[in-house]
Symmetry: C2
Subunit: 408 residues, 2 copies
């Protein structure tokens, strides 16, 4: 009996689903001989394991807390955690209340939900070239077109963007801009205040919101902090409710990614919609995880951020020094002020995906080829290196080995 | 400064997002004077709290396990848990392998993902009238039309369904049938073997898959088990890979809903697609929760199912007896062989939503009005009662009080 052919069953959107090179590469982490510069993976040595253990023990040891933790719970999230996050957002310069916060399963789910709320097929999302691959994957399910924003490039007017969006087969509109203003994935670049204001001005003219992905914002190693897009707009209007910024935060890079706790901070009408989306898509995030994250946030957030900054600053410095020492002429890279990534431009004749194959086989170094981060499929001569997971000696060795095959 | 108006920003699908009466009612659970027959909420007294506590302590107490549990993990789910589930599915008569299993955040996420994979706007989903409200909410995000399947009603041919689907404004196709064959939410009804075969025949003729929602299947209190749609088809083809059944399972009603662990068992090409959807939507379910659920499944599944059956059987019997004793003439109800629900038909002049308002105010009894379970908005004279959460005395008291106001 022949097996059923499923292809004709799928929705139109299925044509745009593709495997993440990053996620596939996660499987390489199990091979100890590979030095891994792939993935935006925090160093597990930093995880506050004992506090997590204590928090679970406290919750599960108390019959009343345990009953709540193991039961269904409200879609908007655990109220004490939402209160902590609202206070945290206020400390970051964004006046808001608990009703401006909805809990998501990491900021990946935040991106999925926001695209689901905003995009009809054929609408346009404005993104940078390159941008976070996981954002493109989340957005793709809702069949957008992409157009390019470039902080430094002020050549195109709002009208030009709107006209380009309307020229699509389905006559869509620009629905939002997506940006990672601090230490962007994949480039490590940080938008200057002037670039932030320019993006805000463009989206105001287009009358569209901005999805601000702040996944790495807490991880600054040097330089002056620049206010978030949300803080800039909330100061002007006096409250997050007056802004058009949809801020995605996460504990994944500061406390732990494994509990899958992130949040969206946005105007109340949007949050109410997002709660409905949460309800329809998975009812609620596990309450036990939210209770644990609340305890971690209360007791360990500042300390963990300080630890992470120290650890990753050292590794960034080591990676930048090793790149300078080993890389042949014709390779250039970014100098990130924070985050987890350095972005390399290879000599034009070198293909990043091709280099990865050679690298895993001969240099035993993993990284992510850059092309997947480009909505238009360009960027073949770029690669992303993460300095978060490998130790300092490994960084030195890995970069030397990688440099050896770039030249070849 | 006026606040931004967000309505023009939303995607077309947003028009179909509405608050769940069930989820809103969860908030009533906090009011101790209300006897709650709402929600499909397991009795928290059954939760294996100590085993959960031990499992978390074991995992977080081991540096290696804890590092994995608190890190990102693979989208398809924790391999030992997937192995356990594959074995469980085989024991239920569905030959399959670990690659036929993907872990989801409860079966609600399974419904969301399957609709995302299959539905383009304007396609048709076949559902019963009434059907699980949460399924309608999940499906609505992908803008389907609904058509009615009724196990007992064989009047319509496959051609008639296909033609009705093509008559939509967007010329869609029938893409799947959705069914809860055992102790359905909301009616408590179980499909006979003949009804299952009839549904399979209809979908075979339409060449569409069936989403089989098995959320309550383990909770049978009397009568003979009927094979799942998946088991019927897998026996014929020899393996799940040869079937068109997309089986959604969950630990929510047997072990605990709070950890949010469910699964889909389906043909491999579909599972590969679903893993991509999982990746794009929330990367992975929390690994710690999956590790704990694996330990619970290994050590406590059979015992917990036996406990739940005993507890809920007693409560079902008490509710059916109380209904017979107290309800006025003109009220009829189902006699479920399992699950959590009894479904009432009120006298025609009584509106379920209206009754709820009076009930919360004067009888202090909560339940779910039936209309939300009907894709066509009918069913105003129906209500759903759950017997899972209230104690026996409360059931007696609550039904007596409710009967008192139905008459009024």
């Amino acid at each position: 009996m022949p097996l059923p052919d499923w292809e004709p069953d799928y929705a139109n959107r299925a044509a745009r689903m593709s495997a993440s090179e990053i996620r596939e590469l996660l499987k390489l982490l199990d091979r100890p001989e590979i030095i891994c510069f792939a993935g935006g993976i925090p160093d597990p040595a930093l995880f506050p394991r004992e506090e997590v253990a204590d928090a679970y023990a406290e919750i599960m040891g108390d019959p009343e807390l345990a009953s709540a933790a193991l039961q269904y719970s409200v879609s908007e999230g655990y109220p004490p955690l939402r209160h902590w996050i609202a206070e945290h957002m206020r400390a970051l310069g964004a006046p808001c209340d608990v009703d401006n916060i909805v809990i998501t399963s990491g900021s990946q789910q935040a991106l999925d939900f926001l695209a689901r709320l905003l995009l009809s097929p054929g609408d346009t999302a404005l993104v940078t070239w390159p941008t976070y691959l996981g954002a493109l994957q989340a957005f793709n399910a809702y069949e957008p077109r992409y157009d390019r924003i470039a902080p430094a490039d002020t050549g195109r007017t709002a009208t030009a963007y709107a006209e380009a969006a309307a020229r699509g087969a389905k006559g869509g509109r620009v629905k939002y801009a997506y940006a990672v203003p601090d230490f962007a994935n994949p480039t490590g670049a940080t938008m200057t205040l002037a670039e932030r204001e320019r993006l805000i001005a463009l989206t105001r003219e287009l009358d569209v919101p901005i999805i601000e992905d702040a996944a790495y914002s807490a991880l600054r190693y040097d330089g002056e902090a620049v206010p978030s897009l949300l803080a800039l707009e909330a100061r002007r209007s006096g409250h997050v409710d007056g802004t058009r910024i949809l801020y995605c935060g996460t504990f994944s890079k500061t406390l732990t990614p494994g509990l899958r706790v992130g949040w969206i901070c946005a105007a109340r009408p949007v949050v109410r919609r997002l709660v409905l989306i949460k309800q329809a898509s998975d009812l609620n995030s596990p309450l036990a995880n939210q209770m644990v994250m609340h305890r971690l946030a209360e007791s360990a957030y500042d300390r963990q951020v300080a630890l992470a900054r120290e650890r990753y600053r050292t590794r960034r410095d080591r990676m930048l020094a090793a790149l300078a020492r080993h890389m042949p002429k014709g390779v250039t890279w970014t100098t990130p002020e924070g985050g987890l990534f350095v972005w390399l431009k290879l000599p034009a004749r070198v293909d990043g995906a091709e280099l990865l194959k050679r690298s895993v086989d001969t240099a035993r170094v993993a990284f992510v080829p850059g092309r997947a981060f480009f909505a238009d499929g360009t960027g073949a001569d770029t690669i992303r290196l993460s300095f978060s997971l490998a130790g300092e000696e490994e960084i030195e060795t890995g970069i030397a080995r990688l440099a050896g095959i770039v030249e070849a």
